[in-house]
Symmetry: C2
Subunit: 385 residues, 2 copies
C-alpha cells in the first residue's frame, strides 16, 4: 500500500534517453489561488504534491499556484497573517480559530482572481457551502463524497451554481486516482449512452472476498484486515456498504439519473444488532458473521462461482450494493486483492465493456486524483494576471 521508494538510484534511464521538457516561449500565464480545507491524510499528501510541482508548473505551464491558506476543524492558517507578522515571528505559520467564510473570502481575494478551494474534509457542513462558493465564482475540487451523494436538491443547487463559471470537480470521490468520473463524462459528452455500471468500489470488501475461501472463518479475515490497516478504524464503515453506495449515487447522477442513497438496495454485512454497539463489543462478536458468510460461500461454490461484493447500476433504475455470486471466469474474479474495479457498459461498449482497475484508496493516489482535477480546472482558465 506504500509508494515505491524513488527508483532513480537503481539503473536510472541513461541521461541521453530522457528528453528535456519543451518550455513554451511565452506560456499563457495564469495565477490560481488555492485554499485547502481539511489537512488530514489526503490533504497533507496533496499539499506535498502541490509544493513538489510548483516550480515545474510555473516554468513549463505558466501556471502559478498560490497557496493562500489551510483550514482545519478548529484552526486555520492564512498567508496574509504570515506576511503581516513575518518579521515578528521569524517565518513560522500563524494559526487562528477556524472561520470558513473568512477563509473562502480570503482565497477569493478582492480583485476577481482565479480561486479554488480543495475540500479534503469529510464534513457535511463544508459540503453545504459549495453552492454559495460556486455561485461566487470560486472553483471547488474534492474527494469528499457528501455533496455528490447527499440530498438531491443540494446536488442540483450545486450544478445550478456552476452556471456562473465556477468549476466543480470530484474525480477522486470514486476510486481515488483511477480515471472513472471523467471517463464516464467523456462517454456521455461524446454522445454515448450508459447502459450499466458494475464494480467493486471497496478495497476492503474486495480483499475480504478475495481471501475468503473457507479456510479461515470470515471473522478472522476481518480481524486481519483491521490489523493490517485495510479497514477503517471501525470496520463497520466498510462492512455496511454505505461508502460504496455513495460512489454509485455519484456515478448515477453523473449519467443524468436522479438517484439518491435511499434508492440503493444495500446489503450490509453488519448484523443489525451491531449497529448501536461500541466498537470493542463489535470486534469481540465478529464471529457472529461467520455462519451466514459460510452459507453464502457454500451457495457460490455449489454453482462453481465466487462471492464478490458488487455495486450495480443500470438504466432501468436498479441500484444495488451486495454480495453477488459471479462465475469463476468473470472479470471481477481475478482482480488483485484490494483493487477496485469499474466496468462501464454503454451503447458503444456493449459486447465488451470498458474496464478500469487498480488501487482505489490511499492518500497518495487520492491526492493525485484531486491534483489532476485542479490541473484540469487550471487548463480552462483564461489568461489573467
Amino acid at each position: 500500500m506504500n509508494t515505491c521508494a524513488s527508483p532513480v538510484a537503481e539503473h536510472p534511464l541513461p541521461p541521453s534517453r530522457l528528453m528535456p521538457a519543451v518550455v513554451p516561449e511565452s506560456p499563457r500565464r495564469r495565477v490560481l489561488a488555492v485554499g485547502l480545507i481539511g489537512p488530514g491524510r489526503v490533504g497533507s499528501a496533496l499539499l506535498a504534491q502541490l509544493r513538489a510541482a510548483q516550480a515545474r508548473l510555473s516554468r513549463d505551464g505558466g501556471l502559478e499556484l498560490k497557496l493562500c491558506g489551510v483550514v482545519a476543524s478548529k484552526r486555520m492558517w492564512m498567508d496574509c497573517d504570515d506576511a503581516e507578522l513575518n518579521g515578528r515571528h521569524g517565518g513560522a505559520q500563524i494559526w487562528r480559530p477556524s472561520d470558513l467564510d473568512a477563509f473562502a473570502a480570503h482565497v477569493a481575494g478582492n480583485e476577481g482572481r482565479h480561486a479554488l478551494l480543495v475540500d479534503c474534509s469529510a464534513n457535511d457542513d463544508v459540503a453545504a457551502q459549495y453552492p454559495r462558493w460556486l455561485a461566487d465564482g470560486l472553483h471547488v475540487v474534492t474527494p469528499n463524497k457528501l455533496a455528490g451523494s447527499g440530498p438531491l436538491a443540494r446536488w442540483q443547487a450545486i450544478r445550478a451554481a456552476c452556471a456562473g463559471g465556477g468549476r466543480f470537480r470530484y474525480e477522486a470521490t470514486v476510486c481515488a486516482g483511477l480515471p472513472v468520473v471523467q471517463t464516464l463524462r467523456d462517454l456521455i459528452d461524446t454522445g454515448d449512452e450508459l447502459l450499466a455500471v458494475e464494480g467493486m468500489f471497496s478495497g476492503t470488501l474486495a480483499w475480504l472476498c478475495n481471501r475468503y475461501d473457507g479456510d479461515l472463518p470470515f471473522s478472522a479475515l476481518v480481524r486481519e484486515a483491521h490489523h493490517l490497516g485495510y479497514t477503517e478504524p471501525d470496520p463497520r464503515d466498510d462492512l455496511s456498504g454505505t461508502d460504496v453506495a455513495r460512489k454509485l449515487v455519484i456515478l448515477a447522477r453523473e449519467a443524468g439519473w436522479s438517484l439518491s442513497m435511499e434508492d440503493v438496495e444495500v446489503e450490509s454485512l453488519v448484523p443489525p444488532t451491531f449497529a448501536s454497539l461500541p466498537l470493542e463489543s463489535c470486534m469481540e462478536r465478529l464471529e457472529e458473521l461467520d455462519a451466514p458468510m459460510a452459507a453464502k460461500l457454500a451457495a457460490a461454490r455449489a454453482v462453481g462461482g465466487v462471492l464478490r461484493h458488487v455495486a450495480h447500476l443500470d438504466r432501468h433504475g436498479r441500484a444495488s450494493v451486495r454480495l453477488t455470486v459471479l462465475p469463476a471466469a468473470h472479470a471481477f474474479a481475478h482482480s488483485r486483492l484490494t483493487d477496485n474495479v469499474v466496468q462501464f457498459r454503454t451503447r458503444r461498449y456493449c459486447d465488451n465493456p470498458l474496464l478500469v482497475q487498480g488501487p482505489g484508496a490511499g492518500p497518495e493516489v487520492t491526492a493525485a486524483g484531486v491534483f489532476a482535477d485542479l490541473l484540469r480546472v487550471a487548463e480552462s482558465l483564461e489568461a489573467r494576471a
Copy 2:
C-alpha cells in the same frame, strides 16, 4: 464489434428518473471552426457524432462547432463554396481538388478565430504538416499514429510548435477510446514517476492468442479472424507487430523518454519470406506459421502458462513487442477476446498497477476518443466571439 441498437425502446428509465440538463444562464460562448482530414471509417463516424451533438453542445455548453470543410485524398469540400453557390446548386456539396494548404488556411480563417484540424488520415504527408499548423495557432487532434511514432526530430518540432498556443491531442492513437494517454499524462503531471507500461495493444493479436489453444492450427485462426474482419485487409499488418510498436513509442515519448521505432524489439509473427509476397500468396501459405506457433504454445503449456502478445516498456529503456509466456493468473490471461489492455506501474501504483481494458479499435469508439480530445481543447479556449 457493433454498437448496440439504441436501448431506449426497451424498458426505458421512467421519465421522472432522468434529470434535465442544467443549462447555464450565460455560458461562456466559444466558436470553434473544425476541419476534417480523411473522411474514412473513423472520420465519417466522427462527423456523425459531432453533428448529433452540435445542438446540445451549443445549448448546454456555449460551444459552437462550425464544420468548415472535409478534405479527402483527391477532393475536398469547403463550406465557403456551398455558401457562394448555394442558390445555384440547391444546397448540394461542392467538391474541388484537394489542396491541404488552402484547406488549413480556410479553416483558420482571417480573424484569429479558434480553429482545429482533425486528421483521420493515416497519411505521413499530412502528419508532416503538424508543426506548421500548430505554429500558426491551429489545434490538431488525431488518431493517426505517424506523428507520434515517426522521426523524433519531427515529434520534437511538433512539441516546440505548441509553444505558440496550438494544442495537439492524440488520445485515440493508443487503444481508441480507452483512457490511456491522458491517464499517463495525469500521472506524470501530478508528480508520479512511470516505472513500466505493459499491455496488449492489438485486438487482433489478443483474439488470436486467446483462441489459440492447440485445437485448431494457428493458420486456421488467422483465416477465421480475417474472415470476421478482425484483421486488417492484409493480416501481415497485424501479425508484424509494427502497429503495436507505434503505440509503445507514443507512450514512451509521453513519459519523456526518447524512444523511436528502431529502439523497439519487435517479434514479428510474419516469416521474413512473406514480406515481399503478394497478399494472396501469403494467405495460401499461412500454414507455414503453424509449426513455430505450436512449439511456442507447447513451451508455454510446459510451465503452466499462456501465450500472449505483449508490449513492454520500462524506465531502463527496454521496449519490446513479442509473444510472451505469462502465468495463468496474470491479468492479461483473462481479458475478453479482442480487448486491449494497458497496465501502468508507477511510484504510486507499484504493488498494484493501474489497468485499463476494453475494445481498442473500431470506428465508433475511435471517433469518440477523438471527439473527447476536441472537447478538451474546446474547454481550454478563451471566450471569443
